[in-house]
Amino acid sequence: MSSKKLAPPPLAAWLLKVIASSSDYDPAFGDLVETFEYIAEKEGTKKAKRWFWKEVLKSLSGFLKNRTHRSAAMIKNYIKIAYRNISRNKTFTLINTLGLAVGMACFILITLWIQDELSYDKFHTNKDDLYLLTIIHPNSITDPNVPYALAPRLAEEVPEIAHFTRIYSLGSIRTCTFKYQPSQGMPVMYYETNVDLVDSSFFSMFSFPFVYGNAQTAFRDPHSLVITERIAAKYFGRENPMGKTLTLNNQEDLIVTGVVDIPSNSHLQMDFIARLPNRLDNDWNWRDPSYVLLRGNSSLPDVKDKIRGALSRHSPYPFADTLKVDVLPLTRVHLSFGRRMYVYIFSVIAVFILLIACVNYMNLATASSSNRVREVGLRKVMGAKHQELIQQFLGESVLMSAIGLGLSLILVRIGLPLINSLTAKQLDFSLLYRHSMYLYLLGLILIVGLVSGLYPAFFLSSNRPAETLKTSSPFKAKRSSFRVVTVIGQFAVSVLLIACTAVVFQQLDFIQKRPLGFSIDHVLKVPINPILLNRFQSYKNDLLQNANVLNVTAGQSVPYEEDYKTSGVEWEGKDPEMSPNIRYSIVQSDYMETFGMEVMEGRSFQSGSFADMRNYVINKEAAEYMGMQDPVGQKLVFWGTTGTIIGVVNNCHHVSLHREIMPHIYTIYPRHYNALKYVFVKISSANVPDTLEYIKETSMSYAPNFPYQYNFIDQGIQTLYQSEHRLGRIFSAFAFLAIFISCLGIFGLASFTAEKRTKEIGIRKVLGAPVSHIVILLSKEFSRWILLANLIAWPIGWYAMSKWLQNFAYRTGLNPLLFIFAGLLSLMVAALPVGYQAVKAAVADPVDSLRYE
């Protein structure tokens, strides 16, 4: 135990050993360890470790100086030799620098991306004291949304909470229109979705930079409105937005009291921020997040203890004691809820691609060592020490890596817009103009240079001069097992990435082709407004006058993203202890008809029937969930309203296929009509422009004071799987790069093998071997390596992708054919460079290769 604790930092010790590898420095190292232990005993391990590092870093220059003190002529000679080698083997130089450049570019891009991910919400002055309130469910899922009434209760009870703010996302429960009436001319009005109501402490907690106004005055008045720069430009153009009036839903006048700039690395993204009325203080519904600001010196465990049971103390829910209230530091919010995994995955990929590039250098340098064996031999005879040779070769690899970095910066410049479109970020090249980044780039050069050069350096410098100079042909066709292993590793990574890409795309294809249970073709979505809502029936009848309008209904949200859940459902035979979890849709009659949902038993809502207002339609899953054999005609209580089940529809995917189909209740009860947000109009495919014009005119004639806009809802379904699309594209880019760099390497190796065996091939041809025979001879070895790489990559890929697929409730099976496809693809791609070299060697005139004997 104690001896382990007293060990000097291993990295520092290693560094020292590498730099001062000669045994001359053993006593100095011993002194370091002895003094380290002395300090550790007297002043603690931490201090001793720091001291050790300082000593090592200080001594490094001395050690290096001692060992590099040789004349400038020698260094000049090294540079000359390096230059000659570079220019002699143009192909290999090209392969090496290109591979390194691509690998480094990839690494830099991913670093920039990760830096951006990690920078989220760090710009707030109070970032260390800001927390998101969360609820932990019994199945240990963390819910970022909490009841509106929770934060005010906590603020009363827990003295450590200095401020709290709730976010009430008005735009997601109700259609919002904003209207600006300039002193002359037409009003400017739009539908908006990013509308949030917050508590007045919002701007004193979060430090969003103000373009106009300031945090103190922004929310003085209850009718204040803070908007972003983009919105200011949208409504007011170049005019100063301060003090202008925007009318919300034609009812409420709000005064613009501030314009903020919400940085892209804030997880809170809002366009309109207004003040929240106090009436929510007893609202125990939860849909939106709440944040608290703790006093600077509070102890987090204490706070957590105090808030843990708050829900069971206050909330009216019977099952509240199974729910724990918790807090999540603001700076960790962005990466929680699933994103952290991507940061890990991409870091690993970045390192692997860089390694593949380094491995190319190692393999080519050791493979080409035959060309330099004599140089090494001669240097040794002339008195060069082992370490001096190592330094020479390391110097060369660092030089190559520096050239590679130069190229990679150009690639980064070119690749940035591409990455931005792939990841929906705005990364800029200027992020690299920072001191920390200079250091990082310098470190990258050194690390890549050292990693790729270390093995060749030892390999080359360990030759015995007597042997290398004695034999007439210095190179023996000795197969390096290291090279085999690394090539297999390279291709294993490539195959892995190809297989992952294939699986991601297969899953995407699967979820897009899976029947959702309803049809969204030719369905129009029109945001509802108070007028259309009040006069819905006559509006609907007017629309239906047109023969091309087939059905009209209304709903809370497009059917593929209706994730409203409730526990307020009762039915006969329900276990009183049970807290049900059921999705619901507040709709209008003709909903099932508009979306072509299959009614399995009973009937759907009848248009204009008053009796149906209290009746319910449920899905098949709900019938099973409630244990009803014959559901039609049974009683059901939804939010206190008793009604009859009149029909059962087939299960539909109301949320993305990440999640299971749940029991679902459809209701047309008028008391809930405020929740309706969209009119859905199903039109026929004939004469669409005219139909659209008709719908527009009808809507405008009803509500001339509201903006009119529409979408076809089949367009929006793409966004459901946006992140999977993105992942697929990023994976394919990485897979391409990995296989590209690997192929560069294998191209180099193949050409070396071919070169080495020129004479053998010549003799074989003279003796009558056909070209095909020789091509097979040369490609056989590589094919074997790649097959082995596949064998390694398949189980890893299988495991990783089955983990990933578990994110989806509905997933495609893992198809072994995909893995075989990945293997064949890698084999085919690798066959190109290998085959090219093999054919080149095979068709060469044997006279040339044998002549010089």
Partner: protein, 108 residues
């Protein structure tokens, strides 16, 4: 010939003073002590190596010790040339300082 540098002189003197125990750790501690300055191990070895190269000290390797991470100590002994070089600087010191009257610092 060239005279010893102050650093070399310091180290030679501490090697003399430490007698049998003259290896890296005590030498450094002693030098830090007299000069009241921080000397890194690298700095000590820089000078020690120079002294060795000039032949002013000789070295003897001790046994590897577990306490020192399995490394041996290297003990330093002053050679005849080393003694001579020290005497030279002492003589120089005495000669040059003879009859020097320093202006008082306070009055300036």
């Amino acid at each position: 010939m060239k005279f010893l540098s102050r650093q070399e002189e310091l180290l030679l003197l501490s090697i003399l003073r430490l007698r049998e125990n003259a290896y890296g750790v005590p030498i450094r501690l002693h030098v830090c002590d007299v000069t009241d300055k921080y000397w890194s191990i690298g700095a000590i070895y820089d000078v020690l190596d120079r002294l060795t190269r000039k032949g002013l000290v000789s070295t003897i390797s001790g046994e590897p010790e577990k306490k020192r991470g399995g490394k041996s100590k290297r003990f330093y002994r002053i050679t005849k040339q080393g003694v001579r070089a020290l005497e030279e600087v002492r003589e120089l010191q005495q000669k040059t300082w003879i009859d020097i009257s320093m202006p008082s610092l306070k009055n300036r």
